[in-house]
Amino acid sequence: MSETEVAGTWISDEMRASVGGEYAQRTSFPISASDIRKWAQAVYYPQPPPPLYWDEAYAAKTSHGGIVAPEDFNPFAWMTAAGPADVPDATAPGSTFPEHNLGVELPATTNMLNGGIECSYTGVRMRPGDVITAVTCLTEYTERPGRLGLMLFTTTESRWTNQEGQLVKTQRDILIRY
């Protein structure tokens, strides 16, 4: 048993003290029209994606005035503006966890799942050429017993803004580890 797995809890005092901490700031490369088109192709596959996501001539005539990205688009995939060192490697255990970035010892869990997502959108859409910055804080730890053992729920909150400082969305992610 590791030092973090004590008395039937995954949450160490050090983890508890780190709640509220800002642990990541990511800035995207400028979004390209192809990034948006490929995203929409993947999500709408095998049907063609709506022209708003790939046809500039069509999109220019809509209320959006041009191509916009789907609200769920991720501009941080495949490297951020900070370069390769800032790319979380999903195959490297713990590298994407808040504790790793807050200098806190990781809980000794062995599996993780995406527990849920909550997003509020402002109506400011992501567009080709936009540079998005996301600032992420550790918001909460909770835990409860589950079918696969004691489950640790970690909630983080990210605020996404564009290059003009306009808030695009606020996203809360719930990570489950066990």
Partner: protein
């Protein structure tokens, strides 16, 4: 648009398969073993590999836009991922209207949204609010 509490919006349906997951992994840089390898899915306690929660999240946005059109605005969406989208089962995204409000000149519609398998297992239950196009 005429909208009333209790209305069900048209579903958005996609197969759950490596064809879909691999395309999504490629755009979201989401190369996680449980989405790529049946052995990893089994090691995590499931019957095999399963699709990304983020892909179900995307489908919950698609079902809203396919219904209200591209001029409709998604105000908020929240969901929990409770059951995995396993291979070879159709994923069906649903929405049911739970409220209609006029706020600041906009018509806001609250919905219960969820994804379920073709066998009826709810995978990602949640809620959403949209602003209908003028």
């Amino acid at each position: 648009m005429d909208v009333a509490v209790g209305d069900e919006i048209p579903t958005y349906e996609r197969m759950s398969s490596f064809q879909h997951w691999n395309r999504y992994a490629a755009v979201n840089h989401e190369f996680v073993d449980i989405h790529m390898d049946d052995r990893a899915g089994k090691a995590a306690g499931y019957s095999g590999a399963f699709g990304m929660g983020h892909l179900q999240w995307a489908y919950l946005h698609c079902v809203l836009h396919e219904w209200m059109g591209e001029d409709g605005r998604i105000v908020s969406v929240k969901t929990q991922f409770r059951s995995p989208n396993l291979n070879d089962l159709r994923t069906i995204a649903h929405g049911r209207v739970t409220g209609v409000r006029d706020v600041g000149g906009e018509t806001l519609v609250d919905l219960e949204v969820w994804t379920e398998t073709e066998e009826g297992t709810v995978m990602a239950p949640g809620t959403a609010t949209v602003a209908l196009p003028h």
